[in-house]
């Protein structure tokens, strides 16, 4: 996992996952995160923005200004090829990790 902080690593990964389907602006990403990730952003919703810019810096995502469907100006983020590859790699590792955890915990929980 990239990043020394497990939290930021997780957040980055989740954002990549969310962007996988379609380009979104920051608010949309945040909304999905709040609805699906059970508390990742509870402490600070704004932590989203450094994460997005970091991903852009690392070349895993690109961004450009565009218009929302309500015709407001927003910055849209989109996965790059490198981003997709990173996501695929990380997902594989996650699945190995959770297999290991499941094995250790002896199958309790799903």
């Amino acid at each position: 996992m990239s990043g020394s902080d497990l939290f930021t690593g997780t957040l980055d990964l989740l954002i990549l996952r969310i962007l996988q389907d379609e380009p979104r602006h920051g608010y949309a990403v945040g909304k999905v995160l709040r609805e699906t990730s059970q508390g990742v952003l509870d402490v600070e919703e704004g932590a989203l923005y450094p994460a997005l810019h970091r991903l852009e810096s690392q070349g895993l995502a690109t961004a450009e200004w565009g218009r929302t469907d309500t015709n407001r100006r927003a910055r849209f983020y989109r996965l790059t090829e490198a981003g997709r590859e990173r996501l695929a790699g990380e997902e594989e590792r996650w699945s190995d990790f959770s297999d290991a955890v499941r094995a250790v915990l002896g199958g309790t929980g799903s």
Partner: protein, 876 residues
């Protein structure tokens, strides 16, 4: 174009907050409350904004850097590829640059080693020589100090931390390996201390040894001599050696690398030594002046302060001792100036010449690049059409020229380092003091880098400027208009011709000066004379024994195969150690004294040496019983007996009522001390000759008339002397012409180098002229074709091009002559018998340059006449 990251981040976060607030409103909150809640949920807006901005800024910076590196890499790649596609062009440019940069680097290597690097003494910039001088009408003449004088200086002067007398000596070393002649120094109290050296082994001298008792028998060896003669034996203190036959004890060894203030001393004796020491009488005499004095300025004292103090000291001494110290000065000169003398100026002048050469080379390169740029005009236009910014274009041209400059500088550096070695090797030893070591250090590399950058930028700006001109397109179509040459190209050529002319004038002046020096009659047969010195030790030879021994040696030498007549005397010309004194005309008063040099010679001296007798007769066998005859030099006759015949007149030696001697002959002037001083005008003192036999001396110089090869002669001499007395070393064996060559060394060196550089410069300038005119003819092809089509004859066209070219040359010549007039001032010190504005030199040089330029102009002009109007116009 990215906007300010701060604005963008702010807008982005603002968007989030607004949407979040709207979401909360939809859930029932009021607008203000919703907004507050949105902000609270967001977290610390300020902190997060700042962090986000930071991330963004860093990204933009990295991206920008990468783009620039990419552009640079692209330009480099393009440049290298472009240059490889035109190997001829690249080779010429790189070669020209290497020549210019190499020349400057080579001479700078010598300048650095001799002028800039530290002398081999601790805190050497505080060290000076205090020189005793005589205030002559033409300026101070350095003569050496007397022992009492040096003592007075040391005792009264407060500007100095310490002063110590020092004198160079040469002694015969026996008892430690083969008999050798060793150079050394005899030194007074404080010498080693003020030079901050400590003994490597043993000790230096005690106060008693240094006092002038004439009894001390201690010697300090140099590190090198210690290794050579004693195998670096650490128990050497206490061992004895023989110097000039006298037994002395080694008391210590100097540290490695120390060679005294003469820079070549291998041993040191205290001033009170029994071997070469002055002895009580001579040491007390204020009239015997032979010492050098080295001093260290006191902390915080400047050179000027020390100088004015010593002026005061000297005048107080003159008051106290009006006879002995009349017109005496005490000059304070930094050590380096004494070592280098006028070589400093000479080397700087040569450096200046190489700088001019480099400028010419750079101008040629600029012209070449410009020509190439106009050839690529189509490419440039296209690039501009495609939107390449002006800055990118300039960057591309500069990259190209920097690549060329870097290659030229690298090659030039190699040439320069090797060249400095070669220069130092061929520079006569007389010019470069022993401490000079031209190994390159950081400053040489730095210089090369600076030159490379300067030349690369300057030369590269020319095509860059061209590329930036807006009317490139129309310029192309019209074929350059007017002269086909941009004003810049014309100016460059004029500049080159001018600079080359300056160099050539300098070379011409130096050459004529050198010629004049060579033409000076030395007064003796310099081609066929070989000389060496002997010192007969008192234990082996008593009074009469000296004469008998020398005559025996003379006889044996004359009998040896290949050697002609042999004679000997107190000294031979152009070596050191002459004796000077005063004489008076009959009836003259004490103020009317004449300073002169006396030479004790054998009767056959004049004949063997080839010195002509102008009037009267030479000294002969018949005079052997009569010590009171003399032959005087021509300049003495002219100065002090103008218009009369001095033969038969008498002179008084040393005092107005002193020993009387009769003049029996006048000999031509012999150049004993240097070639160029004015003997008649009084800058140097005249010579007289008396018979050696009337007061035989133990130290003599033997002169042999021989046409044989010097190394063979030396071998024979050593054999003969060795067979006579194996413990008698042969000192300074050398042909006299060697010393003569050393005299003209400076002039020879200077004129050779300047000649070489000026030829190079002329060549480059002429090549540049040719290139530029060819280019102009090419550009004007259409115009020429039109002219020919409407009936102009080939001759008219030829004339047109020639006039265009020669107009540039004329401007260059005029500018060059003017600059040369000013610049020749730097050569004044080196010019002998030539005015710095010598009209003949200037005219000849200008004429030669004009002639060669005409040839360079003629060829493209001829080409112009061969333009085929039909083809040229038809193809447009």
């Amino acid at each position: 174009m990215d906007r300010d990251p701060a604005d963008e981040v702010r807008e982005e976060i603002e968007f989030y907050l607004e949407e979040r607030a709207r979401e909360l409103e939809a859930g029932g909150m009021g607008p203000a409350e919703a907004r507050r809640e949105a902000e609270r949920a967001f977290g610390d807006v300020e902190r997060i904004s700042a962090e986000t901005r930071r991330i963004r800024r860093r990204r933009l910076r990295d991206e920008g850097r990468r783009r620039m590196m990419g552009a640079l890499a692209q330009d480099l790649g393009l440049a290298v590829r472009g240059l490889r596609k035109r190997p001829g062009f690249s080779a010429v440019v790189i070669g020209t640059l290497a020549l210019g940069i190499g020349a400057v680097t080579a001479v700078f290597g010598v300048v650095n080693a001799s002028l800039l690097r530290a002398l081999p003494f601790e805190d050497a910039d505080r060290l000076v020589f205090v020189q005793g001088a005589y205030d002559a009408p033409e300026g101070p003449v350095v003569r050496g100090a007397s022992i009492p004088e040096a003592r007075d200086w040391a005792e009264t002067a407060r500007s100095f931390e310490a002063m110590a007398p020092v004198d160079g000596i040469g002694v015969a070393l026996t008892g430690a390996g083969e008999a050798e002649r060793i150079r050394g120094e005899q030194v007074g109290a404080g010498y080693f201390g003020l030079l901050r050296v400590r003994p490597a082994v043993g000790r230096f001298f005690t106060e008693e040894e240094l006092s002038v008792s004439g009894q001390a028998r201690s010697v300090v060896l140099s590190h090198a001599l210690w290794q050579r003669a004693f195998g670096a034996d650490p128990s050497v203190p206490g061992r004895t050696i023989a110097l000039n036959g006298e037994s002395v004890t080694v008391v210590g060894v100097a540290p490695e690398g120390f060679a005294g203030t003469s820079l070549q001393a291998e041993l040191w004796l205290p001033m009170g030594n029994a071997v070469t020491g002055p002895g009580e009488e001579r040491a007390a005499s204020r009239g015997t002046r032979w010492l050098g004095v080295v001093g260290r300025l006191a902390d915080g004292v400047g050179l000027e302060e020390a100088r004015s103090e010593m002026t005061g000291v000297a005048s107080r001494l003159e008051e106290a001792h009006p006879d002995a110290h009349e017109d005496r000065l005490a000059l304070v000169t930094p050590m380096r100036d004494v070592y280098l003398g006028s070589t400093r100026t000479l080397v700087l002048v040569v450096l200046g010449a190489t700088a001019l050469l480099l400028l010419i080379a750079a101008a040629n390169v600029a012209n070449l690049l410009l020509v190439r740029a106009t050839g690529r005009s189509a490419e440039v236009l296209m690039r501009r059409a495609l939107g390449a910014g002006r800055r990118r274009l300039v960057a591309q041209f500069l990259t190209e020229s920097m690549v060329l400059a870097a290659a030229g500088a690298a090659l030039g550096l190699v040439l320069g380092v090797k060249g400095a070695d070669v220069l130092a090797a061929v520079m006569p030893a007389a010019l470069l003091p022993a401490y000079v070591d031209v190994r390159p250090d950081l400053s040489v590399f730095l210089l090369a880098a600076v030159l490379m950058t300067a030349v690369g930028v300057l030369a590269g700006l020319t095509p860059a400027l061209f590329a930036l001109r807006r009317d490139v397109a129309s310029d192309l179509r019209s074929g350059g208009g007017g002269s086909g040459l941009s004003r810049l190209q014309g100016a460059l050529v004029v500049g080159e011709v001018a600079l080359a002319l300056v160099l050539m004038v300098g070379a011409g002046l130096m050459a004529r000066s050198f010629e004049a020096q060579l033409a000076v009659e030395p007064g003796f047969e310099h081609e066929e004379l070989f000389a060496f010195s002997l010192q007969l030790p008192p234990e082996s030879y008593d009074g009469d024994g000296v004469r008998a021994a020398l005559q025996e040696i003379e006889t044996r030498l004359e009998a040896a195969p290949g050697l002609g007549p042999v004679t000997f005397g107190s000294d031979v010309p152009l070596r050191e150690g002459y004796t000077a004194s005063y004489l008076f005309r009959e009836g003259a008063s004490a103020e009317d004294r004449i300073r002169f040099y006396v030479h004790r010679v054998r009767p056959d001296w004049f004949e063997t040496m080839g010195t002509r007798i102008e009037r009267g007769r030479a000294l002969g066998e018949a005079d052997l019983g009569n010590p009171n005859v003399t032959v005087i030099s021509e300049s003495l006759a002219r100065r002090f007996f103008p218009g009369e015949d001095p033969v038969g007149r008498t002179l008084r030696l040393f005092r107005p009522d002193g020993e009387r001697i009769e003049i029996v002959g006048v000999a031509e002037d012999v150049r004993y001390r240097d070639l160029t001083s004015d003997l008649v005008g009084g800058a140097d003192d005249p010579d007289i000759y008396v018979l050696w036999d009337s007061l035989p001396s133990r130290a003599v110089s033997v002169a042999i008339r021989t046409a044989a090869d010097p190394s063979g002669v030396e071998r024979t001499v050593r054999e003969v002397v060795g067979a006579f007395d194996p413990d008698l070393p042969v000192m300074q064996p050398a042909p006299l012409r060697q010393a003569l060559a050393a005299q003209t060394a400076q002039a020879r060196f200077g004129s050779t180098l300047l000649a070489a550089f000026s030829l190079l410069a002329g060549f480059l300038a002429v090549v540049g002229l040719y290139g530029v005119l060819s280019f102009a003819v090419d550009r004007r092809r259409r115009e020429i074709a039109v002219r020919m089509a409407i009936g102009a004859e080939g001759g008219r066209v030829l004339g047109m091009v020639v006039v265009q070219g020669m107009r540039l040359v004329a401007a260059g010549l005029a500018l060059g002559l003017a600059v040369a007039y000013v610049a020749s001032r730097s050569l004044e010190a080196f010019l002998f018998d030539v005015e710095r504005v010598d009209p003949a030199t200037y005219l000849v040089v200008a004429a030669v340059m004009a002639g060669v330029a005409l040839v360079a102009v003629w060829m493209p002009a001829l080409r112009a006449t061969r333009v085929d109007p039909g083809r040229t116009l038809g193809s447009e």
